[in-house]
């Protein structure tokens, strides 16, 4: 074969290979162990550019820092000389109203050797949606098919009040006949149900044919049990005409305490932050989506508090990352103790936490944030012989009925962020709430994760 031909065919082959990589419908990245990008294909740039805090694609970990903090550390901590560091890990992006904008990325990271890594990045938003629907159907089948040792069956009216009483209610919950006429929330711990949620679940049962939840429920003697609760509309309720006290739904309570461990473990893996065991970004955004849907249907206030540990970078620099982690865990514990079971307490990233409070107005939210701030300011965290004092700043924002539908969770987060920035600017260790003036200051910067 003449020399020119072989060069020409090599060139054509090279171009074909290049186009193959340009067009591959998954993101592929090769980087150094520190994340410095060596090679990267277009889909990666498509997915990463909108996330990149510095507008560069120089470093893979930096590009993902805003949505997946700690990748760098976890990669560095990976003990094997080579192997899969993450496999299909879901990274949740800020919820966007626009259709077609990715919300969930799947992230796979392969360590090739001490110096090199490769990553695969995919937009799996649609896939996860479908899975979520399937999961709900699974839960429903599970509820029907699982061997039932005992259950309580009650009829409730269209306002959620118990219409009658029977032996099964007494057996499972210990409540007597006097509960007739009470809302079914008597079976819930006081901080695990709001008046609006009580009605939301009835409406969801109407819309989907059923509504199910799982969690701690209350017996008459105050003891708690792990329970799966199913609400389904009664098929023949029209027969009762307009009588508001007529049975409209059936409520089934099943004591599934023995299955709690397995359920919790599954939930932990998917919905919990690995360091603090608080809700992770995924759980937070799912909860937010649900609450906004509910608020759009039946207007009510929804509050968001964002907390940020003050000068956290100094804590890490001075005492080391393990001590920093202890501070974060301490903060997580106080958050859990301060807020209600119905609130979603989440770690959004780094030293950034958020609490979503359904059916909560500004006064109540500010009081909660202030309680938390005060509690933190009295704490000392023991780490390696040192005692670390720390403080938090908080930003509070509320969507009331009218504004809840419009801007979605992004707007709520933006406002809480603006309030948080205000709290930081005023000297930290304080709580600020959003006012329209804050948004008019065009200079309010996008919060940097390490602003401390």
């Amino acid at each position: 074969m003449p020399f020119d031909d072989s060069v020409e065919s090599l060139r054509a082959e090279h171009e074909a290979l290049m186009q193959f990589l340009y067009l591959a419908p998954v993101g592929l990245v090769q980087a150094g162990i520190d994340g410095e990008i060596v090679m990267i294909n277009p889909i990666s740039a498509q997915l990463l550019m909108p996330l990149s805090p510095d507008g560069c694609l120089t470093n893979l970990f930096t590009a993902l820092e805003g949505v997946a903090p700690g990748l760098r550390q976890e990669c560095a901590r990976y003990p094997q000389p080579n192997g899969m560091v993450f496999e299909g890990q879901h990274i949740h992006l800020r919820a966007e109203e626009r259709r077609g904008v990715p919300q969930i990325l799947s992230f796979t990271l392969l360590k090739l050797d001490a110096a090199r890594i490769m990553a695969v990045i995919q937009d799996v938003t649609a896939e996860v949606r479908r899975e979520r629907q399937l999961r709900q159907s699974d839960a429903w089948l599970n509820a029907i098919l699982t061997r039932i040792s005992d259950y309580a069956l009650a009829a409730i009216d269209r306002a959620g009040r118990l219409c009658d009483w029977n032996d099964s209610i007494a057996r499972v919950t210990g409540f007597g006949e006097h509960v007739v006429g009470s809302p079914y929330s008597i079976f819930y711990p006081p901080d695990a149900m709001t008046g609006e949620h009580l009605l939301d679940r009835l409406r969801e049962a109407d819309a989907n044919g059923w509504s199910m939840d799982e969690g701690l429920r209350l017996r008459a003697d105050g003891s708690q049990f792990w329970c799966s609760a199913l609400i389904a509309p009664l098929p023949d309720r029209e027969a009762f005409g307009d009588d508001p006290n007529a049975p409209a739904y059936c409520l089934i309570l099943r004591d599934i305490s023995d299955k709690r461990a397995a359920t919790e473990k599954r939930r932990q893996a998917a919905f919990c932050d690995h360091l603090t065991s608080l809700a992770n970004r995924r759980a937070f955004f799912e909860a937010a989506e649900l609450e906004l849907d509910r608020a759009a249907h039946t207007p009510r206030a929804l509050a968001l508090i964002v907390f940020d540990a003050d000068h956290f970078k100094h804590v890490n620099d001075r005492y080391g990352h393990p001590a920093g982690d202890r501070v974060l865990c301490d903060l997580a514990n106080i958050l859990r103790d301060t807020f209600r079971a119905v609130d979603t307490v989440a770690r959004l990233g780094g030293e950034e936490f958020a609490v979503l409070l359904p059916s909560t107005g500004i006064e109540q939210a500010l009081a909660g944030a202030e309680r938390l701030r005060l509690a933190v300011s009295t704490r000392l965290v023991a780490a390696d012989g040192a005692e670390i004092a720390y403080t938090v700043s908080a930003g509070v924002a509320v969507l009331d009925g009218a504004s809840a539908a419009g801007g979605g969770i992004d707007l709520l987060i933006k406002r809480a962020d603006e309030a948080l920035y205000q709290a930081k600017a005023q000297g930290r260790n304080r709580v600020a709430h959003w006012t329209p003036e804050l948004s008019h200051h065009a200079d309010t910067p996008q919060r940097s994760r390490n602003a401390g």
Partner: protein, 128 residues
Amino acid sequence: MTSATPTFDARGLADILDASSPEQLDALDFGVIGLDADAKVQRYNAFESQAAGLSPQRVIGEPLFTNVAPCLNNFMVAQRFEDAAVDASELDDTIDYVLTLRMRPIKVKLRLLASADSATRYVLVQRR
């Protein structure tokens, strides 16, 4: 066309490019990708071809955002063209971006040009 070679940030660049021959586009020192209303590539100059390592034959007639440069298929670029088309509004914006030319991240300035009067829309690429 007797005027001097236009620069990346020249005013009225879309009109100049519309009137340029392929040879004139090839003489430019920045990348030119011209799109029709369906976002299919109609013009592709030598600078861009060289930078991306793709010959014009592989690219002309292909939809840009799915088959040629999927890295631009997000709200920062593709969405801007869609929005401009829907609103029938003028688009002339220059943004900092990172392209993956020959699988290497290359910092560039992108100038996005679209107008209701012109059939051809442009993505212009200059290295920073």
